[in-house]
């Protein structure tokens, strides 16, 4: 050490002590908005946790500001705090941000308009002097156009929190004092993640065979795309599972119709009638771990309370659609459109639109359904310049299945929020254009889903990969557990063929068939020993998914998997061994499904 440095040493030490002391003294805390006790008109959005870090509150008021979200916070140390909110301007451009809001504490409304960040990041709100141990905090929506708030950070120091994905994750856990693993563990015979029609059917068939089942679903209602939240009607045939599927399917309402609520009710009533189905609604799985290619557990978090549970079982079903459990546990999977030679699925008539010469990521897209209605009285709709960028001059009164968005550079998983937001712009812009027409003075936007309905993403690889050739050749598998008759249809974006068309509309190509069967071997993972899949993440090619992705077919997959789980339990064995060693017994069980009654 030099002479000069020697002199500096005591100064540095003193500074460190001061800084350290200051740090000890400084106070900070984080409030997750999804934990707000009164959410007012804001909705919890847990769809993009893996990408942006957390469920968040969103002011989905379809153009009308929603009621304030409120909560009471406890303050350990009174004093002056700096405030930040984590938010995003979801439609940045040369216009005012669509989703603007303000923060209010007790009687003070902060002047800063929030929701203006280009990407998810922290926005500084101002300072507040807490002189009581409790305070009411409120989110004030200003626009009704999907303002978003993930969390609110309070600190006596004026230093913004981190925002890089991993750093933020660690920091968030620290702030919320989250231990590495959940404190609570629960044990089941079968853990099913994803309560779409596939997950529900799996739960019923397994429960009927006496298994203790956990069904973890990140929404308040069951049904996935068939729920009243997304409103797609179930298509396909019942196969061997009519009795089970009729408990959870939908009427043939036009997609987007509120008639979906009646079916939600029916589904829920039937599901809760099974005592050994343990429903975890509003729970989102966020991790799963495998050792020696065997899933050990799934960790899930409540989307509003942030409570966590570890779910253990000898067997798991991935019916998340996006294949999350498979992804986390290292199951092999596929994504994208295979080249036409990969599985020999080319069709000259439709060439590149059907199956490309070279593989790409141009999968079938995701949708947001919506509808409008003529009211008795004249109603207004605000200007939406940020939406016109996408809608251009397109005008519409409702959105059916063709309202779909896919692009080669956008992942239906990683970019799902951007895709949902693109559809929101398309909807608000097209409705605005429609509203300008003479005669539409009483037309009002009635319902726009806040959830994105997906068609295709990860497909987990099983012992058998189902392809178009199995449809064409009408292969009669000895383990055929799912039957279907509907055409194989895949979608493409209309603007691919015709630049005049908007980029948010799709078209379908149909390969007609008289019927086909799917093997059980496409319903369990090739390399994860105790993982089933049911739903659109089953083992198939991109074109192979075209037929069986509809919900009665995916429901059949679920029911078939639930029965297979019961054989696994009986012989303490794996899904693969059901095929290899117990196929006769299993097929008898499947074939007799319609005659079986509840057994719980």
């Amino acid at each position: 050490m030099t002479e000069k440095n020697k002199c500096l040493k005591p100064i540095i030490t003193l500074l460190s002590i001061l800084l350290f002391g200051f740090q000890l003294y400084s106070q900070e805390f984080l409030i997750e908005t999804e934990n707000f006790s009164n959410k007012g008109g804001w909705v919890v959005d847990p769809q993009f946790v893996e990408q942006m870090g957390s469920p968040y509150l969103m002011a989905h008021g379809i153009g009308k500001p929603v009621k304030n979200a409120k909560t009471i916070i406890k303050i350990k140390e009174k004093g002056n705090y700096h405030l930040w909110v984590r938010t995003i301007n979801w439609a940045p451009g040369n216009w005012e941000a669509p989703g603007k809001f303000k923060l209010k504490i007790e009687k003070k409304t902060f002047p800063k308009v929030l929701g203006t960040n280009k990407n998810w990041n922290w926005e500084y709100v101002g300072q507040y002097n807490f002189n009581k141990k409790e305070a009411q905090i409120e989110l004030l929506d200003l626009t009704g156009f999907n303002g978003r708030c993930d969390a609110i950070y309070f600190s006596t120091k004026n230093i913004a929190p981190p925002n890089k994905k991993n750093e933020l994750k660690k920091w968030r856990n620290k702030m919320l004092q989250q231990t590495k693993s959940p404190n609570k563990t629960e044990n089941f015979d079968l853990v099913i993640v994803g309560g779409g029609i596939a997950g529900c059917a799996a739960a019923i068939s397994a429960a009927e065979k006496g298994l203790k089942v956990a069904l973890i679903h990140d929404r308040p209602v069951l049904g996935g795309n068939a729920s009243g939240e997304i409103r797609v009607h179930t298509e396909g045939i019942y196969g061997y599972f009519e009795r089970i599927l009729k408990m959870i399917d939908t009427d043939h309402y036009p997609n987007g119709s509120p008639e979906a609520y009646d079916d939600d009710e029916k589904r829920m009533k039937n599901m809760i009638s099974y005592k050994n189905i343990h429903l975890y609604l509003n729970w989102r799985a966020y991790d799963a771990v495998s050792i020696n290619n065997t899933v050990q557990y799934v960790d899930a978090k409540h989307t509003s309370t942030s409570e966590r549970i570890r779910f253990k079982a000898p067997l798991f079903v991935d019916s998340t659609g996006d294949g999350w459990i498979g992804f986390w546990t290292g199951a092999k999977f596929m994504y994208g459109r295979e080249s036409k030679s990969t599985f020999n699925e080319g069709w000259e008539t439709h060439g590149e639109l059907w199956s490309p010469e070279k593989a790409d990521n141009f999968v079938m897209g995701s949708s947001v359904l919506w509808r409008s209605k003529k009211l008795e009285t004249v109603t207004s709709f605000p200007k939406v310049p940020w939406a016109i960028e996408v809608a251009k001059d397109y005008a519409a009164v409702n959105g059916e299945w063709q309202w779909e968005f896919s692009r080669n550079d956008l992942s239906q998983i990683d970019d799902a929020e951007q895709i949902r937001d693109h559809m929101l712009k398309a909807i608000f812009g097209s409705f605005y254009n429609e509203k300008q027409k003479i005669g539409n003075e009483k037309l009002a936007l009635k319902w726009v889903s806040s959830l994105v309905g997906k068609r295709e993403s990860r497909r987990l690889i099983g012992d058998y990969i189902y392809t178009l050739n199995d449809v064409k050749n009408q292969v009669d598998f000895k383990d055929a557990v799912v039957l279907e008759k509907r055409s194989v249809d895949v979608h493409y974006q209309q603007n691919l063929n015709n630049p005049e068309k908007p980029n948010f509309l799709s078209e379908a190509l149909f390969f007609r068939t008289s019927g086909y069967k799917l093997p059980y071997r496409s319903l369990y993972s090739k390399n994860i020993n105790n993982l089933f899949m049911a739903g659109r993440d089953f083992s198939c090619s991109h074109i192979g998914l075209g037929g069986p992705r509809v919900m009665l077919t995916t429901g059949q997959m679920g029911a078939a998997v639930g029965y297979a789980a019961s054989i696994c339990k009986k012989y303490k064995t794996t899904p693969r061994a059901v095929y290899q060693k117990h196929l006769n017994e299993y097929m008898k069980l499947v074939l007799s499904s319609s005659n079986q009654s509840q057994n719980n």
Binding site: H233, E235, T349, N408, P499
Partner: protein
């Protein structure tokens, strides 16, 4: 009563059909290659392969077909020209046999343009279904049986069919874009030549370009690179996406070619850009 009228009109059409076998021959540069029966099998239309200095190679047929609604049938005549990829190039009317809407009003020139646009669209909704599906009897008709077919709304059809000529548009689309397309492509394939290749690549129709692009080898992409760039400027997303994936690595190793690609950047869609960007950087 309805049935009698229908029967009478069918008989009338058959008689006309018999007489129509004595048809005019097209110009001497044409040779008959196949026959195209009308959808009801009443008329047999000869299809010719033609080649002229000015037009290059193309296919031609003077088609005659019956167009039937629920109650009535009538005859429609048109001279049809397809390109080497089996895509419609244009059509001509036959003097005295103008197309009509609502069965009696002659088509305007706008109507003809609209018809041409629809007939040229390989994926027009009009060709997808039985024509009855486009007539919405119940405004709140429930959506169709399968994902992806909830029924073309009347509104969509209005965009594609000349008002009052739904049946003619539908019948003509089916005839011009039906099985004949495949047959014409096969004929082109079995007579494929350098001349054909260049003609296809120089076509204004993106789908026709694609037909030839799919036959190119890596070396051809290098050799025809300037022509490829010209195609890219036409902003046909499907074609540009195909080219972006098909371009061989040698193009990306050559700085001049890379620059040329950057020069057409503003003509490209996001899909094509996403593929090219990986190679350009």
């Amino acid at each position: 009563m309805k049935n009698t009228i229908l029967k009478l009109s069918v008989i009338f059409i058959i008689i006309i059909g018999i007489f129509s076998s004595f048809k005019n021959k097209p110009n001497p540069n044409c040779s008959k290659i196949l026959e195209l029966p009308s959808l009801d099998g009443v008329f047999i239309n000869d299809v010719y392969f033609c080649e002229t200095e000015t037009e290059g190679a193309y296919y031609y047929s003077k088609i005659e077909t019956s167009v039937c609604s629920d109650t009535l049938c009538r005859i429609v005549n048109l001279k049809v020209y397809w390109d080497l990829a089996g895509n419609l190039k244009k059509f001509d009317t036959i003097p005295g046999k103008q197309l009509t809407k609502n069965d009696h009003i002659n088509f305007t020139s706008e109507d003809y343009s609209k018809l041409l646009k629809t007939l040229k669209d390989n994926y027009s909704v009009i060709g997808k279904k039985h024509v009855g599906a486009f007539i919405e009897k119940d405004k709140f008709r429930k959506s169709d049986k399968i994902d992806g077919v909830s029924g073309a709304t009347k509104r969509t059809i209005k965009e594609e069919a000349v008002e009052g000529a739904l049946y003619s548009t539908h019948t003509l689309w089916k005839l011009i874009n039906g099985t004949i397309k495949k047959q014409l492509k096969e004929y082109t394939n079995s007579n494929y030549s350098e001349k054909f290749k260049l003609q296809l690549l120089n076509s204004e129709n993106g789908n026709t370009n694609l037909f030839a692009l799919q036959k190119l080898k890596d070396d051809d992409y290098v050799e025809q690179f300037d022509l490829i760039l010209k195609i890219m400027k036409k902003k046909h997303s499907l074609v540009n996406f195909y080219i972006s994936k098909a371009l061989p690595q040698s193009i990306f190793k050559d700085e001049i070619s890379k620059q040329k690609l950057k020069n057409v950047w503003s003509f490209l869609d996001e899909n094509s850009k996403s593929v090219l960007i990986e190679n350009l950087n």
